[in-house]
Symmetry: C2
Subunit: 721 residues, 2 copies
């Protein structure tokens, strides 16, 4: 059977799973009328926001699509459109499942912890499988259409080029929309959250999720549009870019280095690995069970471990199926026989050492292990049982200042172990199979996306469930259960971000290889010096490293500004309707939602365009100053600079933010004086600071890195026309 069709079938399997499971979830008890009313308001707000967000993005999208059509032709424009639209669809589905599961989770939690966990996790799993399935289908179907309907042949260099350009355009579509969604959603959710906390908890002295707070619905809407829709779009993008980049690298580097059959199998293999892991992820979801205890994180681990362990034999099988002989040499000596496809090998580096199917299998295992290691490290840095979170909680005793200092120290420190793990992954996979090895490690990481997204999307559902329980005045025991479920949410949310940025570090190497290969193919006369001895390489590295800083600064400022607007609106509402505090008047929730919506959409535009425009500006400025070869060198270095800088910004922000949040939760559990103590006040400040760190600026760095890389590839293609 055609390998691509197998991948398509497996992708459809994820959709079917999502469909069936969503019937189960939607069939569950939606709770009482009050709960439905509140959930309805959240749903309405979330839909209104996403509609407006995607309308705005669509305008940018249409303009960019026209440019892609103009410079790169119709196939690329179609690819761009597919990537863009499906990214939007992934976000919409994530949000829709989430807003319909929150009240049902609250209702289920009335029955018991296991019931609540099952419902919330199923909701997350739907989003997870749909993200992975849609991403896999996007590439697989598009590739199938290109090779079977359009009829492009892998054997022809010019037609391979068309496939490459179209796949890159697909990735661009996914990335462009994702960065808007990640950032817009991130600004919305944290502006609402920070604003609500500041004016509610701190000023008015009312608890979190209190229905008297006019920003409370906006806060809950934010969980859905930021943590859920934004996250889903982000992971969709990461999947498409990583798997797509592996295919592109194969197309660029390996044509002619092996038989046509093995070559086409090799191109299809990343899709098969993705498909295989969809199967194991679906199986894994059924293992997320509490067992005898109440260890929610343990239940999550069970599901993940089953998914990853089962993936090992299945990846072996699909690799063998795609390549035939697992021990036959691919690449290496053969490389460079075929015209422009193999500049690295021509230069005599070992980047394209020969490898076997077995090597690729082991590299995939490295990717699986790396994912597990990152999860474990993230839990260490953000879980309440370990030194980092406890040190922040302890530092809260001496005030706001020491809480923030210790939180920043942890956030800086938390970059070390993941970086070392990623470096070990790079070295291991490179030793096994050169650049292709790194690409396969990244692909295997992303193949687990269904499960990882499931763990993450579970978080906002339980967070919302808690809010609904509070606002609907359910029994305190319900809130306790949703809190128990939510407590691991901070860790699982941090996990996804660490995982996404970790895979980005590997993908960046693959994308850089694609850039240099493209460069050699499109500009064979250019003698570009990528050596560190070339100062334009240093200039590129510095400019690249600057981008995440500037981008994060813009994101943080946006949240601060929008949160300030929320505070003013809430203060005004308290003044206009003095009856709010004694429940005799109802706050105007919609007004606050509307205000945050406008602010978030306005604020997301400029930072999102930064990574799109930066590579273009850098290329042309350096071109004017120092000529084209140095401009290519600086642009290439920019691509690596953005990951070298961005990896640390993203890791520190996401882990640090999670640690601050859980330090607060740890104190609320009765430690260091518990709720209402001075330590708690300090911890609330830390949590507030961590909010835009972990949910706005930090996670948006991942799509930002990809966009920069992809724009550079497109720029090369456009310059070569």
């Amino acid at each position: 059977m055609d390998l691509i069709l197998i991948a398509i079938v497996l992708g459809l399997l994820a959709i079917v799973y999502g469909f069936i499971t969503s019937r189960q979830v939607l069939g569950a008890d939606p709770g009482n009328e009050k709960m439905q009313e509140i959930a309805g308001a959240i749903q309405e707000g979330a839909q209104a926001y996403l509609k407006r967000q995607y309308t705005t993005i669509a305008i940018v999208g249409v303009v960019v699509a026209a440019l892609v059509l103009l410079f790169l032709g119709p196939l690329s424009a179609v690819g761009f459109a597919i990537g863009a639209i499906l990214s939007g669809v992934a976000g919409f589905i994530g949000m829709n499942i989430s807003v319909k599961s929150n009240l049902r989770t609250a209702a289920a939690a009335m029955k018991g912890l296991q019931e609540g966990l099952t419902l919330a996790f199923r909701a997350g799993a739907i989003t997870g499988m749909l993200v992975a399935g849609l991403a896999l289908l996007a590439i697989a179907v598009f590739y199938w259409v290109l090779t079977n309907v359009v009829g492009l042949s892998l054997a022809e260099a010019a037609e391979r080029r068309e496939i490459v350009d179209a796949l890159v355009a697909l990735a661009f579509g996914a990335s462009l929309i994702s960065i808007f969604a990640r950032l817009g959603g991130g600004i919305f959710t944290k502006a609402a959250d920070v604003g609500a906390d500041l004016v509610g908890k701190v000023e008015a002295g009312i608890p979190e999720d209190d229905p008297r707070n006019p920003a409370v619905i906006a806060d809950n809407v934010g969980d859905n549009v930021g943590d859920c829709a934004g996250m889903a779009a982000d992971l969709f993008e990461t999947y498409v870019v990583t798997v797509g980049a592996t295919m592109v690298l194969t197309l660029l580097l390996l044509s002619g280095s092996t038989t046509a059959v093995v070559f086409s199998g090799l191109v299809a293999l990343p899709l098969l690995i993705g498909g295989a892991c969809i199967v194991t992820s679906i199986i894994g979801t059924y293992f997320v069970r509490l067992g005898s205890g109440t260890n929610v994180m343990g239940a999550m681990y069970k599901g993940f471990i089953v998914t990853a362990v089962l993936a090992v034999p299945l990846i072996y099988l699909v690799t063998q199926y795609a390549l035939g002989d697992m021990n036959a040499m691919i690449g290496g000596e053969n490389l460079g026989n075929v015209d422009p496809g193999a500049p690295l090998a021509e230069e005599g580096t070992s980047a394209l050492a020969p490898f076997t199917g077995m090597d690729l299998f082991w590299c995939s295992v490295i990717g699986l292990v790396l994912t597990g290691v990152i999860i474990w490290i993230t839990e260490y840095y953000t879980g309440t049982n370990f030194r980092p979170v406890r040190s922040i909680a302890k530092a809260s005793e001496t005030g706001h200042g020491t809480n923030v200092i210790q939180g920043l120290a942890i956030s800086l420190e938390s970059t070390a172990l993941p970086t070392l793990a990623i470096i070990a992954g790079i070295i291991g996979s490179y030793q096994l199979a050169g650049l292709m090895g790194i690409a396969y490690a990244a692909t295997a990481m992303l193949a687990l996306a269904g499960m990882v997204v499931a763990l993450d999307a579970y978080g906002p559902v339980t967070d919302n469930a808690g809010g609904i329980a509070e606002m609907a005045g359910l029994d305190e025991s319900v809130r306790e259960k949703t809190d128990a479920l939510d407590a691991v949410g901070n860790t699982t949310k941090a996990v996804t971000k660490g995982y996404a940025i970790g895979s980005a570090a590997l993908a960046a190497l693959v994308l850089f290889a694609a850039y240099t290969t493209d460069l050699a193919e499109l500009f064979p006369a250019a003698d570009v010096d990528f050596s560190l001895e070339n100062p334009y390489v240093i200039v590129g590295l510095l400019l690249g490293a600057l981008l995440p800083y500037l981008f994060a600064a813009m994101g943080m400022t946006a949240v601060g500004r929008a949160a300030g607007d929320v505070v003013k609106d809430v203060r005004a509402q308290f003044k206009e309707k003095p009856g709010i505090m004694d429940y005799s008047e109802k706050p105007d929730y919609a007004r606050t939602v509307d205000l945050v919506t406008k602010a978030a959409i306005k604020e997301m535009i400029i930072p999102s365009l930064l990574p799109v425009l930066a590579p273009i500006v850098v290329y042309f400025v350096i071109f004017l100053v120092a000529g084209q070869e140095n401009a290519f060198a600086a642009l290439g270095a920019l691509l690596l600079g953005v990951i070298v800088g961005g990896l640390f910004v993203a890791l520190s922000m996401t882990a640090g933010g999670g640690a601050w949040d859980n330090a607060k939760k740890y104190i609320e559990d009765g430690n260091h004086g518990g709720k209402g103590s001075d330590a708690h006040h300090a911890a609330v400040t830390g949590d507030t600071v961590g909010d835009p760190y972990k949910d706005t600026a930090g996670p948006a760095v991942n799509p930002m890195i990809k966009i920069t890389n992809i724009v550079a590839l497109l720029l090369l293609a456009a310059l070569a026309v």
Copy 2:
């Protein structure tokens, strides 16, 4: 006259200036008995701390000196010892001047603002000139001894090698001691400051510098041992490394590419530029005057501008004197004729394009301009008249959380303009004269060190003067004047750090070039691939970028931990001596000073060893995994990774911290509710967070970067034995 002797005479001029001016300062009115008593306690604490710190460092120093002797021979060991001892001397002098000027500044401020400014600035100028003079003398005398007493000849490759190794060892000595001094002093000052604020201002509700606070003397001691002694050691190191690296690069690259006379002139030229700027700095100090208004920053600017503008013709003159014909070609085509000295030219890059004396002159001008631009940008980000500080002050209205969020946003944003300026400087000087151009831009920057350190060292003197005025119960008008003087202190302190790290970015390129050149000379058979296409280069970049994060995390944690100890000690003293609050009992200041001393010394060891050990560990680990050539590649990339990562960490921390501090001052000036308002409380939190950012972790990144680079050079030399 021998060029080196001219440089020595000019260096001595700085010492003479320092000697004469210190007579003037010490001759000034030391105020009343109470002031002398307080100043005596500060002096005693500072001396006790520095003595203990340098004793501890001496132990490390002796061990390292023995290793240097063992691996690199006696000349290098002597160089190391000179660098190490003079670094310590620079720190000691800075501290001694500072603790004797603080009370005299307070006394002078009783007469008027101009009088206070004159005295405090003179005190700063003494430190500035002694740092620059000692640094210049260290290199010039050592080089003179090597070439004239030991008799090493520039014409012999093997003897040039000995000079290079000895100069590198000198830089290593300076750097090693400086990182301990910067970090130890930084931990001391901020642990005392944060601790004193937390327990005094926040808990006990007593004002800053209140004599009832047992940590108040420790806080004032900290200003002297951290902001003054640590800073002086740091700038001494920066000067020695930058000027030394330029000489080393000249020795390595340009022998044989020109006549022997021009060559020896070229080696001496960096020293002459340093000497010329000592002259202009001395002249500049006499222009720091208020004029008709009360614009303290304006007075500072006058002094700096005179120094920099006069430097232009003087640098032209010394360049012409050293090289003769300003338009004669040096380097370029001639390069590579002489054996191993010019691998870059052999590789056909333009790193060693031919240049003229005129080109070097223009590169020096770029360095001067870059210094001015960095000062201006730093003032924008940390001055109370501009958007950044005001935005933090405004964000304080909505609470602790938004203050910190906005401060972090500004700290991230503040990296952009300096980075762009540095990049412009790199490109401009490289276009003019290749790598030597970059080296000369960096040298000219550092040549201004006398003036820049003067502006910085002025800060802690006025800070202490304010404390003494408060504790001695002087009239409020005195405190107002010292506050006015101190207000620009935050900006000038941030300026020095931005300047040091900015010059480090240029110096890092020079040091990297020294590394690659050394590598080619010492390991001619190694075919090291520094291309970004080599994954071990990426691994090195990532590891390098990780170092400042880990280092800063350790520094921040250390401050948090030590500050916590201070809080506990002060609480205990309040309990043991209940009469403290009504002035019937005196707190035990010495006990707190002693406690912070022990904590700071204990905490400084491990982080300081990180950059020493990291290059060695990285080399050997990659060597085991992937062989020597990849190990050399990864190590080289590490050197650039540490600057690519460290530049942003250092810039963001130092500017961010300064902005937070001045946002607090801006509120205290009566804005956003003024002292005691909620906004003020929030701003105090931000200031506390900014403290270890700007005074501990951030500034110590600069010597850390240098150490990493120098250790790599020494490692090469040791491996080659």
